[in-house]
Symmetry: C2
Subunit: 434 residues, 2 copies
């Protein structure tokens, strides 16, 4: 993409309510703009990152055998009355009257709807187990939206729902999602700590939260230092034994930790860090299948209410969490897996015909090789171009200038390490095309 034809409103100033670094950087890098309290528009660069995060989430759901569908954002209040949650849910539910004065709501989650859809489609034990998921916008009417997309009101969530014949099956479905979560966050370059969670308004008996460690996290975590020793490779090849190993290690949110009489972790191994919750999984059994009248025929001819679980990931929140975990004083440092472009190509002198021709040619070759490239072909000062590339945080910067061209070289900069190297055009291309 040529920057001269793109829409990338980078900015230096950020409003006073942008307190945390990810919020500031998302505004400065032109990723999002707030359009109402806690509601954001995703500008082109931000949408690219969001789409990549979403795609990693999707691939890991598919890999775990979950099946994608898409439920609507607007639901009827009657649906929620069937489970008893319409009255129980507080003012965070955005309640709506349509033109016929029917009570509707903007879905904050979808247990009721998926239960009815599954009831419509499943008859017998042959139709189980199944895990269904969707990636859809949700609305929670936070009293005080803050921290940019981290605690927005309209947000993108992946929510999956599993249906099993019995508790043992539910345990397996729960573990498959647990593995998918470990892989999902590891692929984004994040260290996620699974924390045994008390079950909230969704109800149930087994639940874990996944927290990304970051100083600006809203939760205080207490955990065994051994968790920090689990490697990315172990997480990417996680299986049931990885879960056992991880969940055997102590990890608690402050509130729960305070209730523990004797902490099992020796003081020198107890870590205290702040965490951002990016995932939450629940095994809640028959709560919704029973209340919504979902039952299926067993092999023996009886009827059972399927045992269910639900599994959420905050897709839009993850963008904030990744930035909290990966930035420096100059801007964002995107992990390659979610970077909006892999390479930022800078022509230092757009007014120099030789530079322009060399940069144009490099751009063509990168495109031909399938490397997503943002090409700063604008007639601007080099310093401004560097600052823009640093703040938007593409993994590689490829810099074409008149002095280098005289020597037959271009400069390749690694955004994460800051390392710069002079290379011939061919070597630079070989490095990037890999």
């Amino acid at each position: 993409m040529r920057l001269s034809r793109y829409f990338l409103p980078v900015t230096k100033e950020t409003p006073a309510d942008a307190q945390i670094v990810s919020h500031k950087l998302m505004l400065r890098a032109g990723l999002v703009r707030q359009t109402a309290a806690g509601i954001y528009a995703w500008l082109p660069l931000g949408l690219k990152v969001l789409t990549r995060i979403e795609q990693i989430v999707r691939e890991e759901q598919d890999r775990a055998g979950a099946i994608e569908l898409l439920m609507p954002t607007i639901q009827s209040a009657d649906l929620w009355r069937q489970s008893g949650r319409y009255d129980a849910y507080g003012p965070e539910m955005l309640r709506i009257l349509d033109r016929h004065q029917r009570e509707m709501l903007y879905g904050p989650t979808n247990e009721e709807m998926i239960t009815l859809l599954f009831k419509d489609g499943a008859r017998s034990y042959r139709d189980l187990p199944r895990t269904l998921y969707h990636i859809q916008w949700k609305f929670r009417d936070e009293v005080r939206p803050r921290f940019g997309v981290m605690r927005g009101r309209e947000f993108l969530m992946k929510d999956a729902y599993s249906f099993d014949l019995d508790e043992e099956g539910l345990k397996q479905s729960y573990e498959a999602m647990f593995v998918a979560y470990l892989r999902t966050f590891a692929r984004m370059g994040l260290q996620a700590v699974p924390v045994r969670a008390p079950t909230g308004p969704i109800g149930g008996n087994l639940s874990h939260e996944f927290h990304i460690l970051a100083d600006t996290g809203e939760s205080a975590l207490f955990y065994d230092a051994a968790i920090d020793e689990v490697t990315r490779e172990e997480l990417l090849s996680a299986d049931a034994s990885t879960i056992t190993r991880l969940t055997d290690l102590y990890a608690m949110e402050e509130e729960e930790h305070a209730k523990v009489e004797t902490c099992p972790v020796p003081a020198e191994r107890l870590r205290t860090r702040r965490g951002i919750e990016v995932g939450h999984i629940f095994a809640f059994g028959t709560k919704y299948s029973a209340s919504m009248g979902l039952s299926v025929q067993t092999k023996e001819g009886g009827q059972v209410h399927p045992h269910m679980g639900s599994y959420g990931i905050g897709v839009s929140r993850l963008m904030g969490a990744i930035i909290e975990a990966s930035h420096d004083e100059n801007g964002i440092i995107w992990p390659e897996s979610v970077a909006p472009f892999q390479v930022g190509l800078i022509n230092m002198r757009a007014d120099d015909a030789g530079c322009a021709e060399a940069a144009d040619r490099l751009y063509e070759r990168l495109r031909e090789a399938g490397i997503e490239t943002l090409y700063d072909d604008r007639d601007e000062r080099g310093g401004a171009k560097f600052a823009t590339m640093d703040v938007i945080g593409l993994p590689w910067q490829l810099i074409v200038g008149p002095k280098g061209l005289e020597k037959g070289v271009v400069e390749l900069k690694n955004r994460a390490t800051g390392e710069r190297e002079e290379l011939s055009v061919e070597s630079a291309l070989a490095r990037l095309v890999g």
Copy 2:
């Protein structure tokens, strides 16, 4: 995908309110389920088609140079007060009060929001021209939602907005979108008739609707038979001259046609068909840039309000339109470009080890070749399997049965023509892998 692990609730009965064939077939084929009046959940097979339609729309927008972003579904009423449309828009706007009693709404369209976003990011003539688009859920609170996803309340729309320095630029942006629309519909196997449209509440001075011809369309069209002679190839390579040729040909909606004193088309060449509106483009000039205070600096140092256009495609409605245009008495016939799977593989005898082994092997080979295949490996009667494959309308059916295997052959059926052929496994694979 193995059907034994998928979620595909096909059904024979459809509710009485499903009057038109696309609505009936979308329910029968397990593509969608209604979850509230005019609001649908997209089941796995339906989501796959929706995603393919969306992707064709996206590719043609990108090809035309439009830049994708994503605006939220919920907007503030204040935004719409700035253009004066909040009070002008009727009861089709879903109006919402949040917990702080602030007036919000579920966006039916995005002219106001995009104008403010562009105002935030564009300063001078260098930032123009630009066309920005998004593909997002909209809500229009239809008084009587009907015809399934064709006139639903929550629907997926692509809306693009162009910003130009002057009228001549706007004309070029309008033409680029016109070409994109011709290509988009042609790629989906549809014949779209562009009809000069009177401008509605969005305002403006130049507008075309794109109608898919189908007996169940809501609009009656009168047009020159020469439009039917434009070939798919011409549409796929459309340029400004194609537009001139098409728009020079007479095409009117009934209401406008009735106002014409002397129809320029001789009676023998005047066609009357019903149409489904799937796209609508407007050039409206400075209506929003002026009312929302968007101006940019010109090359000469002055300030101008950009000339704008907006360009919509009903993405979810297109699914209904495609089915209206392409089905038979047994079910849907998907054009290859939007088919949820390319091949339906049927094992006629899941209880026969030889059949199962042969079908499993075919499935693996198709997967390895990257052919998306729905594999009916269930223990069901052959007749039921044929009926399911016919109703869901995949382009090809590959049938493995014990008699054929004895002769070393499988059967390949073309869903559109109904043609069946006995072929060796290798020949069948070669045919499908192409």
